[in-house]
């Protein structure tokens, strides 16, 4: 039996216009993805070039840059003090937010009754996560520096501002991780005679932990790059100051970069670029850890 010609079988179906639409939309989507990537690549290339100029043109040693403290003399300026400030801020903010954030998520997901108030809180957490970070900085300035309390412009206040910024993000992501644990597993635990807390601690939390950790690390990476709230609570830039504890004057890497970028000497601009590279390396490291945790434990559920 010979094959009938194409036209005889499908001649009444005209797909040309459909295929054209398909190709057009595909090109549009491809272009959008390329544009985003290109903008990012351009930015990183520019920063890397500026930083490279620092090493070649101004002969700034990388070790020297990391280990020396800020100074008005660009030859002696480095990011050590700012780095210590940033690390202190992040560590404090993480400690403050992780337990409160995960605790709040556990309450809202596992314990809270389904009332109107709880649903209102639930819905508004996402809104809180979207509030511009400068607002949290203002709140801290108003309450903790220039208000009922006068703690001064110290690391602790900066850490509180950062904690306020990341707390809703941590709560929302931890709630998502808890929600991803199937109810069948909870029921399995209840049915064998486990209490609610035993079920949460022994089954639900271990299963949700990779998701919680991933969300927390990404939120903290976000805090690591924050500048505005720290400016609001009076972070000082590129001082010869190395903070030694939570009650010391506040300084941070992002604020120092911000300051360097607006100096008139070109060498400071180059220093800012080098600082950004340092900032990005830490950010990239955190994101990689988060991706690693996610991919490592991803298949273990369900």
């Amino acid at each position: 039996m010979s094959t009938p010609p194409m036209d005889e079988l499908f001649g009444d179906i005209d797909l040309e216009w459909e295929h054209r639409k398909n190709r057009a939309f595909r090109s549009l989507c491809f272009l959008s993805s390329i544009l985003g990537l290109a903008a990012l690549a351009l930015l990183i290339a520019d920063v890397l070039w500026e930083a490279y100029r620092g090493v070649s043109e101004y002969d700034i040693g990388i070790i020297h840059f990391i280990t020396s403290t800020g100074s008005v003399n660009p030859d002696r300026a480095g990011m050590y003090g700012a780095l210590v400030g940033s690390v202190l801020l992040i560590v404090l903010a993480s400690i403050m937010t992780f337990f409160i954030g995960v605790g709040a998520a556990i309450y809202l997901e596992e314990y809270a009754p389904d009332t109107r108030l709880v649903r209102l809180i639930d819905a508004n957490l996402a809104n809180l996560a979207g509030v511009p970070s400068v607002v949290y900085g203002l709140v801290c300035f108003g309450l903790l520096i220039n208000g009922p309390l006068d703690l001064g412009r110290i690391i602790l206040v900066g850490a509180i501002a950062l904690a306020l910024v990341v707390l809703p993000i941590i709560i929302v992501s931890a709630m998502e991780a808890l929600r991803a644990v199937p109810d069948s597993v909870r029921n399995g635990s209840y049915a064998i005679g486990a209490t609610r807390w035993q079920t949460i601690r022994r089954v639900v939390l271990p299963a949700a932990m990779p998701g919680i950790m991933t969300g927390t690390i990404l939120a903290i990476a976000n805090a690591w790059g924050q500048t505005a709230p720290l400016l609001m609570v009076g972070a000082i830039a590129s001082a010869r100051h190395v903070p030694t504890g939570p009650f010391d004057d506040i300084t941070a890497l992002t604020v120092t970069i911000f300051d360097w970028a607006f100096r008139f000497q070109d060498q400071f601009h180059v220093l800012a670029a080098m600082g950004i590279v340092g900032l990005l390396v830490v950010l990239l490291g955190m994101n990689m850890v988060a991706i690693y945790i996610r991919s490592r434990y991803e298949k273990e559920l369900s």
């Binding site: 399995g188 209840y190 486990a194 022994r202 273990e300």
Partner: protein, 275 residues
């Protein structure tokens, strides 16, 4: 054993030798429901059910979808407490005590009455941790012997004894379900509730579970919800037929239900005229 079925038998109730011995034991009621009503909001899921379930026997609950058989099962260990809109009226009496009395802690009750679910739901933990979980939440340290006993009791030991520390989720569906049975029997409960335990499994895995139920009943009382009438006929001693609306239409020896039911609606259901 392909014997010719007599015409008056609706479904073969060929019994094993064990089962014959079992059938001669007198019935001792371990669990009973009295005038039990269950509502989900305004909807009545169980309508005035009274039943006496004998110890160390297999009792099957059958009926069409939505007839309340699973709801009834979940009343026994108070898993319905988890559902906000669920309201229970009437008594469920376990060894003389109404489990809905104010002084009964559902957590304690569930330590005496284990449960196996429709979809295998092992914890995302190792095989060993799955088995020891029930003992550990009771604050009892679990020994290697406990693990072996439970896994042997669930006919799983031979297949997993060399990989007890791998994840329970790496097992096949049928093995996962037997792991869930091992998990349920490890703390040595008195009753085991099974909610369609084979409906998510292939026929070979399902038949292993059926064989297992036959041995479990030596030590435990088994109450099994199934939508598979052949399964009920094969494995159970007693059968309760629920029909739409949550009504218990007939409860009797399995042989009687399948060969000579008193209620014409049960006969219609069993012969496939509805449901």
């Amino acid at each position: 054993m392909a014997t010719q079925e007599p015409d008056d038998k609706l479904i073969s109730t060929e019994v094993s030798a064990d089962e014959t011995v079992r059938n001669e034991r007198p019935d001792e009621t371990v669990l009973a429901a009295k005038d039990l009503d269950v509502y989900y909001g305004e909807d009545r899921a169980i309508d005035d059910v009274s039943i006496e379930i004998p110890e160390n026997k297999v009792t099957a609950l059958i009926g069409p979808s939505g007839c309340g058989k699973s709801t009834f099962l979940r009343c026994i260990n108070r898993m319905n407490d988890q559902i906000d809109v669920c309201r229970v009226d009437g008594d469920v009496v376990f060894k003389g005590k109404n489990v809905y009395d104010g002084d009964v802690d559902p957590v304690a009750l569930r330590r005496k009455i284990g449960m196996v679910f429709q979809k295998p739901n092992p914890f995302p933990k190792s095989i060993r941790e799955n088995v020891t979980y029930g003992l550990e939440v009771q604050g009892k340290p679990a020994t290697e012997g406990d693990v072996e006993r439970a896994l042997r009791g669930a006919a799983l030991y031979e297949e997993v004894h060399d990989k007890l520390d791998t994840s329970g989720l790496d097992l096949s569906g049928g093995q996962q379900q037997r792991l869930c049975i091992a998990r349920a029997i490890a703390p040595d409960p008195e009753v085991i509730l099974m909610d369609e335990p084979t409906s998510a499994l292939d026929p070979v895995a399902a038949s292993k579970i059926e064989d297992l139920i036959d041995t479990l009943v030596e030590e435990y009382t088994v109450i099994i919800v199934t939508h598979n009438m052949q399964q009920a006929a094969r494995i159970s001693d007693k059968t309760a037929v629920f029909l739409t609306g949550g009504e218990l239409v007939e409860f009797d020896d399995t042989a009687t239900i399948f060969e000579n039911p008193a209620d014409s609606r049960v006969e219609d259901y069993i012969t496939g005229k509805f449901g």
